[in-house]
Symmetry: C2
Subunit: 322 residues, 2 copies
């Protein structure tokens, strides 16, 4: 019987569920609605139904050993989702790991999505064999999963790794977290849009995108405009990369990691984001660490990357109990 785990990636809109073997093959997977504005019970019944469906589609006999979950505001220590802004209907405190474990009768562990991404890179991705590295997830916001001595950095309360909320501009942009000038207000899909809008204002227009408003411009539109030779769009990527690269130089001074890995939507912009990021990172890295830390892009591709990360958590927890 083949040993497998279930990986679950909970997003604000959709949740992806997959059954994954030890080698990182996602044998079957499915996407369901997260139903974030309804009570969590709605999501749970969709989830359990989807798991039953997936089990039936497996052709080989299998033994499901454990479940791993990546979720916004996931607390590893408590197995809970706490005050997740994009899961409002679920309430402030959802003991999700316990609920699912009781129902399925197997161990369930939970962490936030950036931490799951870091575990995925360590088990299946570019960080295979590394024990000290940082994954930066560039999505709507900026998350980080930090591996120290081969383990995730959780901190005292399970919520460590909020690298998106270090201050990069004193009294800078308003952040959703309540503070001002946080890294993710400049470096993320929405940060890129804010950079673009600011640069349109600074340049008094000058971009093909100046006809669109704040709500209609997307990071994809900025990427396409930059590739088409729009100078302001290119500058928006430069600005984003420069701020990220400087912040990464600080991360290097603190962690001296073997690698920093960019993950998520914006990382797929390739050199547009990597080139200015690498340049600023190398310029601002202090002498003793210069040239020691690799800047990499995740090579986990396709719809299943977040599922792989969640399943990596399940495997890691299983291996701990051995």
């Amino acid at each position: 019987m083949k040993e497998v785990t279930i990986g679950i990636d909970i997003g604000g809109t959709n949740t992806k569920i997959g059954i994954v073997d030890r080698e990182g093959s996602c044998l079957v997977y499915k996407s369901i609605e997260t139903a974030a504005d309804q009570p969590v019970e709605v999501f749970l019944s969709l989830l359990f139904k989807a798991i039953e469906d997936l089990k039936e589609t497996l052709t080989e006999p299998h033994d499901i050993k454990a479940v791993g979950i990546g979720a916004p505001n996931g607390n590893y220590y408590a197995g809970t989702i706490e005050k997740a802004a994009n899961l409002k209907g679920w309430g402030d405190y959802v003991p999700l790991a316990n609920i699912i474990s009781e129902r399925l009768g197997i161990p369930v562990s939970l962490t936030n999505d950036a931490n799951a991404a870091a575990l995925g890179e360590m088990k299946y991705g570019v960080a295979k064999g590394m024990k000290n590295f940082i994954v930066i997830t560039l999505g709507t916001g900026l998350g980080s999963g930090i591996i120290v001595n081969g383990d995730l950095l959780y901190g005292h309360d399970g919520f460590a790794g909020e690298f998106g909320h270090i201050n990069v501009v004193p009294n800078g942009r308003q952040c959703g977290c309540g503070s001002k000038g946080c890294l993710e207000t400049y470096v993320s899909a929405t940060g890129l849009v804010r950079n673009m809008i600011e640069l349109i204002a600074e340049n008094n227009g000058g971009s093909h995108l100046d006809q669109y408003n704040f709500h209609t411009i997307s990071s994809k539109m900025i990427f396409d405009a930059a590739e088409d030779g729009d100078p302001i769009a290119a500058q928006a990527f430069e600005m984003t990369g420069e701020i990220l690269g400087k912040a990464l130089a600080d991360a290097i001074a603190i962690f001296s990691p073997e690698a920093i890995i960019l993950f998520g939507g914006m990382a797929s912009s390739g050199d547009r984001i990597m080139e200015p990021t690498r340049r600023a990172m190398e310029e601002h890295t202090i002498r003793v660490f210069k040239g020691k830390t690799k800047l990499l892009i995740s090579d986990l591709k396709g719809d299943n990357t977040a599922i792989l990360g969640a399943s990596a958590l399940a495997w890691q927890e299983l291996d701990k109990t051995k």
Copy 2:
């Protein structure tokens, strides 16, 4: 036979050596010259002589199990001191742990002084029982020892924890590390003096200390002036604490530590430095972490604190091999 370890704290001018029991009593200790501008052999002969002297002064029978060393630019992984600016005569690369271990025939481990301080706090000090905390050493420079999951954060190359070299002012003050605007150029004994000089310039004098030059003003003089009601000296402490507190808010976002502990000369300025530091730290800490991290002062007192830290390393390594 009483089990003991030897703790050695290497400074730029003096080196302290002590024999310490498991409970953290420093039974005997001695200070020798570091002889930093002469070949390391000079230091080694002074050191071995001092250890022999200390052993003879012990009244009880004892069994020396191991040696721990705290040293500037100490590399834990390699047991070496590398490119230490204040140990110029010793050369760029000193395999000190091996040399001493071969001579004494017992295990020798080595780390940098801030890391040793963190281990000392965990074994004997205010961090007893904590598994996630940060020690900030405020001396000539600013060092940090970061404990994650009960272990020191060493990073990929053994040099992690250079929190003194995160950037706090873009294109700010020149730092000895080669970069500009590093935290320690504002927050340290020398940083405090630079703050004071800058404030004297800004205020066109206005302090009892404006008759002294950059080289003659000390942090002690600034403290005494502040206590005597000198407004500019008081402002220099405010400035130092504000910059430190903001940087600590970033450290909290990244590490979510149970406590941050200030250690070293400037920490003994008490409320002068603690009050503005705490205020800025609390103001800038993001909502999810507010009120969760304690700001503490080291309660290890006296000449032996650095020896205790170094001996804590020796005990920790012994316990690992059990």
